[in-house]
C-alpha cells in the first residue's frame, strides 16, 4: 500500500510536470499509450489426474508521456494499471504453489497503478545522462539476453514485444570518435525486485552496475562489457553478487542477420573472485541466432536461436525452480532451441508460430498467434500456448522444494487466448 501511494505521488508529480509551460516554445507535452483487454482459458492437470479448463481475464492500461522543455532535455513517463482475474491473476499461481504462506512474497499486485518508467535525459553533445526509473535493454539476441541482468526474467515472451521493465538508476553514454561509445549504469534494485528498498544502504556492494564499449567493425556491430548482477534470495534474505563479462554482436553474413550474445560469470555468487572449482562451461551463458527471409519461403520470416545456460542443469534432477519464481532466471536447463516463423498477409494480418525446446529433456512449448490490425490503432490477437514433453516444460513443481506443502502441482497449463489492444 505504501508503494502504491509513493507511485501515485510520483505519477501525479510527473503528470503535473508534463502540463507545465516551457520557456522557449517547446513542443507541447503529450500523453499517449494503449488499453489492452484479454480473455483466456487454461487447462491444468489436477491432483486426481484430470484436466480442468479455467478462465482468466485482464485489462491493462499503459499510459505514456513525453515532454521536451528544452532542445537537449527530455522527460518520459510510463505508468501501468492492470486488473487481472482468474488464471491471469498472479494470485492464482501463488495459491497453487502455496507461496502466500511464505513470508516475503507479495502474491498480488492486481489493480495497482505502477510507474514503470519515469526518467529524464540530458544530452550534452558527446555525453548524455539519463536518470530515474529507466529501461535498460542490453543485448542483441531475441529470446534470451545473457547480458541483460537487471530485469526480471520472462521466459514466455519469445517475440520480445513487451515493454522492458524500468529500474531505478542512472545511465550514461560517452560518444567517442569513429563510432566508439562507452556506456555505463548504476542501479538501486535487485534483479527480481524482491529486496528491501534499503538494499544498497546496507552494503554498497549491493549496487548493480555495468559498463560496456560498443563499436562497428565492417558489417558487424560489437560490444564488450562487464557488469555486477544483484540477486536477492527471498527465503534466506541474502544477496548474491556475481560479476559477469559480456560481449555481443550483430551483423550480416551471406545476406542474413546473424547475432550472438554471451556473458561469462567471473566470480562466485558471493562476488568474490572465482575459486578453484570455477569452470568455463558452468559459468557461460550464450545465445546465437539468425533472422532470415529466405526467398524460397515466399515472404516467411524465419528466426532461430540456440541458448546455452551454464548455470542451468543438464539433468532433470538438478532443476531449480526457485530462481524462475523469483524472476532471476529464465529457464532451468542448459541447452535450448528456439524456432519461429512469421508471415504477414495483406499487410495487416500476421500469422506466427514458434517453439522453445529444452534440448536435454525434449520438453517444450509451442506458441501460435494470429493477429490483425483492425485499424491503424487497434489490433486483435488470437493465440495459444501448448506445452509438450515430460521434462521442464511439463511444469510439474514439487511443493516440498518450496517448503509450502507436499505433493506436486501443474503450473504449465495449455492456454488459448484472445486480446484486443487499442492505442490512443
Amino acid at each position: 500500500m505504501r508503494g502504491f501511494r509513493i507511485n501515485c505521488g510520483l505519477l501525479c508529480t510527473l503528470l503535473f510536470a508534463l502540463t507545465l509551460p516551457g520557456r522557449a516554445e517547446p513542443p507541447p507535452p503529450e500523453i499517449y499509450g494503449y488499453l489492452e483487454s484479454g480473455a483466456s482459458s487454461s487447462s491444468f492437470t489436477d491432483d486426481d489426474g484430470s484436466d480442468t479448463w479455467r478462465p482468466g481475464a485482464y485489462t491493462r492500461l499503459r499510459l505514456k508521456g513525453n515532454w521536451e522543455p528544452e532542445e537537449r532535455l527530455r522527460f518520459h513517463l510510463e505508468a501501468e494499471w492492470i486488473a487481472a482475474y482468474g488464471t491471469e491473476s498472479p494470485d492464482f499461481s501463488a495459491r497453487r504453489l502455496g507461496l502466500d504462506s511464505l513470508s516475503g512474497w507479495e502474491a498480488s499486485d492486481t489493480g495497482e497503478l505502477r510507474v514503470e518508467h519515469a526518467w529524464g535525459l540530458l544530452d550534452l553533445g558527446n555525453f548524455d545522462i539519463q536518470a530515474g526509473k529507466i529501461p535498460l535493454a542490453w543485448g542483441t539476441a531475441y529470446v534470451f539476453n545473457p547480458s541483460a541482468r537487471v530485469n526480471p526474467a520472462d521466459s514466455l515472451n519469445p517475440g520480445g514485444d513487451e515493454e522492458t521493465p524500468g529500474i531505478t538508476g542512472i545511465s550514461s553514454s560517452v560518444y567517442l570518435k569513429n563510432g566508439l561509445t562507452v556506456s555505463a549504469y548504476l542501479a538501486a534494485e535487485d534483479r527480481g525486485r524482491e529486496a528491501d528498498p534499503d538494499m544498497i544502504a546496507r552494503d554498497a556492494a549491493n549496487i548493480p552496475w555495468g559498463t560496456r564499449i560498443r563499436a562497428f567493425a565492417g558489417p558487424f556491430d560489437l560490444s564488450l562489457g562487464i557488469l555486477r548482477e544483484i540477486l536477492y534470495d527471498t527465503p534466506t534474505s541474502s544477496y548474491e553478487r556475481p560479476l559477469w563479462l559480456s560481449c555481443d554482436g550483430v551483423g550480416n553474413l551471406a545476406g542474413q542477420n546473424l547475432y550472438w550474445e554471451a556473458a561469462l560469470r567471473i566470480s562466485d555468487p558471493s562476488g568474490n573472485p572465482a575459486d578453484r572449482e570455477w569452470t568455463f562451461e558452468d559459468n557461460l551463458e550464450l545465445a546465437v541466432g539468425f533472422h532470415a527471409l529466405p526467398s524460397i519461403f515466399q515472404g516467411v520470416e524465419v528466426r532461430g536461436e540456440y541458448f546455452y545456460q551454464g548455470t542451468g542443469s543438464s539433468r532433470e534432477r538438478g532443476y531449480e525452480v526457485l530462481p524462475i519464481l523469483e524472476g532471476t532466471r529464465t529457464v532451468m536447463g542448459r541447452h535450448y532451441l528456439f524456432g519461429y516463423l512469421e508471415k504477414r498477409f495483406f499487410d495487416y494480418n500476421l500469422v506466427s508460430c514458434g517453439t522453445l525446446v529444452n534440448a536435454v529433456d525434449l520438453s517444450g512449448a509451442v506458441f501460435s498467434e494470429y493477429s490483425r490490425e483492425i485499424t491503424a490503432n487497434s489490433k486483435f490477437s488470437l493465440g495459444s500456448v501448448t506445452y509438450y514433453g515430460s521434462g521442464e516444460f511439463q511444469g510439474i513443481i514439487d511443493r516440498s522444494l518450496l517448503g509450502t506443502g507436499t505433493g506436486t502441482v501443474d503450473m504449465a497449463g495449455n492456454r488459448i487466448y484472445a486480446d484486443l489492444r487499442i492505442s490512443f
Binding site: E163, T181, D221, G255, N257, A376
Partner: protein, 244 residues
C-alpha cells in the same frame, strides 16, 4: 579483317558514348536532388486497393537526411508505432522499437520487407538513401523530345530489385517515374513523382505515389514541410545514440 576491327571499334565507341550519356543524365539528376542535409515532415497514405479511397491508413513521419546515404526517420502517427525510429547508413539499417527499448539491426534479406508496422509499398530499401550514380549501373534505353528513359541495374547484389527504369524530364532533369522490376515478379511497382514545388528553397516533388502492380494497391507520400542544407544533429546518425 580490317573492316571487322573498324566495326568493333565503332561499336565500342558507340556503347561508350551511350553509357556516358546515361551517366551524365543520372549525374544531373543526382545533382538536382542532392543537398548536404534535409529535414522533412511527411504524410504517408496506404490505400487498400487501386480503386478504393476507403480504409486508408495514414502515417506521419519526420525524417532527417545527410550526405546522400544517411537518413533518420521517426514515426509520429499512428499511435501503435509512435516513436519507432529507423536509421539508415549505406546498406545498414537500425530500427529502435520504443516498447522494448531495443535496437535491431536490419541487414540482408530483411531490408526487402516493407517497413514493420507500416505495411504499404515502400520497403526499407526504398526508403534508404544513396545516389543513383553509385547505386546503379545505368544505360540509356530511349530518348524522346521530352524524356530520357534510363535503365539502372543495382550494384548491390543483395538488392530486392533486378532493375529499375527511370523516366526523366529532358528539360529539367526532374524524375517523373521509376519502374521497379524483380526477377520473380517482373514489373512490380511504379513510383510517380508529382506536383514539383519549391519548398525550403529547393524544387521537390510534393507528392509521390507508389503503385504496386502485383498487389494492385497504392501508397502515397505527401511532403508537408521541407528544409535543406541546414544544420542537423550529429547524434541522429550514430547507431548507438540515434534513439537516445
Amino acid at each position: 579483317m580490317k573492316k571487322r576491327k573498324i566495326l568493333c571499334a565503332m561499336l565500342i565507341c558507340a556503347s561508350t558514348l551511350w553509357a556516358e550519356t546515361a551517366l551524365e543524365i543520372i549525374r544531373r539528376v543526382d545533382e538536382r536532388q542532392h543537398s548536404a542535409t534535409s529535414e522533412q515532415k511527411m504524410l504517408m497514405r496506404v490505400y487498400p486497393s487501386l480503386a478504393s479511397d476507403t480504409g486508408v491508413r495514414e502515417f506521419r513521419i519526420s525524417s532527417v537526411s545527410r550526405s546522400d546515404d544517411e537518413s533518420f526517420m521517426v514515426f509520429e502517427e499512428p499511435r501503435t508505432i509512435k516513436g519507432m525510429k529507423i536509421l539508415s547508413r549505406g546498406d545498414d539499417r537500425w530500427v529502435h522499437f520504443p516498447s522494448t527499448g531495443r535496437v535491431r539491426k536490419i541487414v540482408g534479406e530483411s531490408k526487402k520487407q516493407s517497413v514493420q508496422g507500416v505495411g504499404g509499398d515502400f520497403s526499407y530499401e526504398d526508403l534508404g538513401g544513396g545516389t543513383l550514380e553509385e547505386d546503379y549501373r545505368t544505360r540509356l534505353l530511349e530518348e524522346s523530345e521530352s524524356f530520357f528513359i534510363i535503365e539502372g541495374i543495382p550494384v548491390d547484389s543483395d538488392s530486392a530489385y533486378s532493375r529499375l527504369v527511370f523516366e526523366i524530364e529532358k528539360e529539367s532533369y526532374r524524375t517523373l517515374k521509376i519502374q521497379y522490376h524483380t526477377e520473380k515478379e517482373g514489373h512490380l511497382k511504379d513510383l510517380f513523382f508529382r506536383d514539383y514545388t519549391v519548398m525550403g528553397g529547393k524544387e521537390i516533388a510534393r507528392s509521390m505515389e507508389m503503385i504496386n502492380r502485383h498487389r494492385e494497391r497504392r501508397t502515397e507520400v505527401l511532403i508537408l514541410e521541407s528544409r535543406f542544407d541546414g544544420p542537423v544533429d550529429e547524434k541522429l546518425f550514430n547507431p548507438t545514440r540515434f534513439y537516445r
